[in-house]
């Protein structure tokens, strides 16, 4: 049977599901970040932790709160990973090496979830549930909080650089959005056949008399927040290709839905927070156009599948689960790299050169289509500021965004944001391919070898977490390099975003005049999408041409 119809059918189901869920969740998120009332359970938490949730924080205090909270998270996960054999519920797992524990701690705190280890043979239940799963919630919440702070900054005026209260935002995001959302999603996943128990490995006798170890655990509950929070780190090494984690095409499509729903909903919430739904609509339109293009191109690349074996098989099926096929694998790959999820249901190393290059390009785009929870929105808004600035220069209009004047200081922050991740990626790949220890981790040589290393540093710097495969990354060199890229790739942009939020919050909101570029019209959406593509193209095409493009042309 032709694969085209199922491919289009799954996309149609996904679009309908998102169209129903995004407005609902968008309204919920907008309410969460603008409501002045605290729930009882939240008030109790504030009392216990001696926090004042009504203290409106200056952006610098907000940023320091984010940094302090995240640093404590790194130390907590690091300690659990190192002390694992001495702690309860470790189910016999050994201690992580120091470099591996640090990489894992940074990885989960930064919402990257890069995994150098095999979950089923290295992480016990305590580490999974108390360390990694907790970070799955709070790291996703941090992204949403930062996006909410930026939206507030744009909505307020003359607020003295105050952008909200991080502790209140964090608590509300977890209590009102992520915990109930993940609970419902986990129930659905259990109903769809995902494993959920507290057992360790179970040994069974196979039909031919052999013995096999089946790893169990709280899989559905972790899978729910793994996808909903655009985390991506799974309890199994095969991630979403494992039948216990992702058993059917329906659970696969549900996983894609979970990845996309909060990033799109946050863009909807943005329109409500700034009290101009059209602004959120433009952001959603650009996100949708970029994601749709990516899905289309990736599906085409995998279905066309150059080479003798792919053409005999009818598609590039190497490294793909036959339960899902190439269309669902391409959809998953586009969604996981368009968001900051990084979960995989196929081996990205086995994608066609064009497909692998597209997955990399999605991440290089800054994961804005639709991006991670919160990070997608603030990434897109930073590009919107660049767009109004460039458009202003082109047509002589005053650079303003939502009534906020875009001056030298604003552009300094935005330029820092736009440059931060590419600098990390390009410096990272330079270090990786010039160091002996870096080259030692590569399985392949030539363009594909470069792609393996480039994918890893791109994934880490953009906090995606998916791996190309082929790279042996569990070494002190790679664990430390990728850890540093993840840490600065997450928090350097966040500091700049919060600084801009504070800057906007302190400024007056100017009324729109005849010289104001309308930012709610289709022309602006086209400009915004164009700026995103051109900025990335100019930055990364040289290195892409040495890796996946050279491989595709050879």
């Amino acid at each position: 049977m032709s694969q085209t119809l199922p491919a289009l059918g799954q996309i149609a189901v996904l679009v309908v599901a998102l169209a129903v869920a995004v407005p609902f969740l968008g309204r919920l998120l907008a309410h969460v970040y603008t409501s002045e009332r605290h729930w009882r359970v939240e008030s109790a938490a504030y009392r216990v932790l001696r926090l004042d949730p009504d203290a409106d924080q200056h952006w610098r205090v907000y940023a320091l709160s984010v940094l302090a909270f995240s640093m404590v998270g790194v130390f907590a996960v690091y300690a659990i990973a190192r002390l694992q054999p001495h702690l309860p519920a470790s189910i016999g797992m050994a201690s992580f090496p120091a470099d591996g524990a640090w990489n894992t701690a940074v990885s989960f705190v930064t919402n990257t979830n890069w995994q150098w280890y095999s979950g089923e043979s290295a992480a016990g239940n305590l580490l999974q549930a108390s360390g990694l799963a907790v970070q799955n919630f709070v790291s996703a919440a941090v992204g949403l909080c930062v996006a909410a702070a930026l939206a507030r900054g744009l909505a307020r005026q003359r607020a003295g650089g105050r952008v909200g209260n991080f502790w209140a935002d964090l608590t509300r995001t977890c209590v009102r959005v992520l915990l109930p959302g993940a609970f419902v999603a986990a129930l659905v996943l259990v109903a769809l056949g995902v494993v959920q128990n507290l057992a360790g490995a179970r040994t069974i006798t196979t039909l031919d008399g052999g013995s096999q170890s089946l790893p169990g655990g709280p899989i559905a509950s972790q899978e729910a927040i793994k996808q909903l929070g655009t985390n991506g780190g799974g309890p199994y090494n095969a991630n979403s290709a494992h039948p216990f984690e992702n058993p059917t095409p329906l659970s696969d499509l549900f996983a894609v839905f979970l990845m996309l729903v909060l990033p799109f909903a946050m863009a909807w919430a943005f329109g409500l927070i700034v009290r101009d739904r059209r602004q959120g609509g433009v952001v959603i339109a650009v996100m949708t156009a970029l994601l749709g293009t990516s899905i289309g191109l990736l599906t085409w690349a995998e279905m066309a599948g150059h080479g003798t074996a792919p053409q005999l098989a009818g598609a590039a099926m190497e490294g793909k689960e036959v339960r899902f096929g190439e269309a669902a694998s391409a959809l998953f790959a586009a969604a996981t790299t368009g968001t900051s999820t990084g979960a995989v249901n196929a081996t990205h190393d086995s994608l066609t050169a064009a497909g692998g290059g597209l997955a990399m390009f999605n991440m290089m785009l800054g994961e804005i289509a639709p991006g991670g929870t919160g990070s997608g929105l603030y990434g897109m808004l930073m590009l919107a500021v660049v767009t109004v600035f460039i458009a202003g220069l082109m047509v002589g209009r005053t650079p303003e965004y939502l009534g906020k004047k875009i001056g030298q200081r604003e552009m300094m922050l935005v330029a820092g944001y736009v440059l931060a991740t590419p600098v990390l990626v390009l410096a990272g790949i330079a270090v990786a391919i010039t160091a002996k220890d870096g080259l030692a981790g590569l399985q392949e040589s030539g363009p594909h070898g470069l792609s393996e290393a480039l994918y890893a540093v791109t994934s880490a710097s953009n906090n995606n977490g998916s791996a190309f495969g082929g790279l042996t990354s569990g070494t002190p060199f790679w664990n430390t390099l990728l850890g540093l890229l993840m840490l600065f790739g997450r928090f350097l942009p966040i500091v700049l975003v919060l600084a801009l939020a504070g800057r906007f919050a302190a400024a007056r909101t100017l009324p729109a005049g005849p010289g104001t570029l309308p930012t709610h019209r289709p022309l602006f959406a086209v400009l915004l999408g164009g700026v995103a593509l051109v900025l990335v193209g100019l930055t990364y095409v040289p290195v892409l041409s040495l890796g996946p493009i050279a491989e595709a042309l050879s």
Partner: protein, 62 residues
Amino acid sequence: MSDLLYVLVTLLSFGSLALLAGLIDRRLADPDSDHDADVPGSAADARPADAAVPATSNGGRR
């Protein structure tokens, strides 16, 4: 020994980011700012109207 190394790397990384936040704040508060009436700490920001805005409010944007 390696534990101490990674603890130091973590402290230095987050410390440098905190330092950067402080530097940016000072830079933005510079009186040479292009619209210094709007920068944090300036007299214009001491206006009481927005000082009472709740932490989670979007500022009653009109």
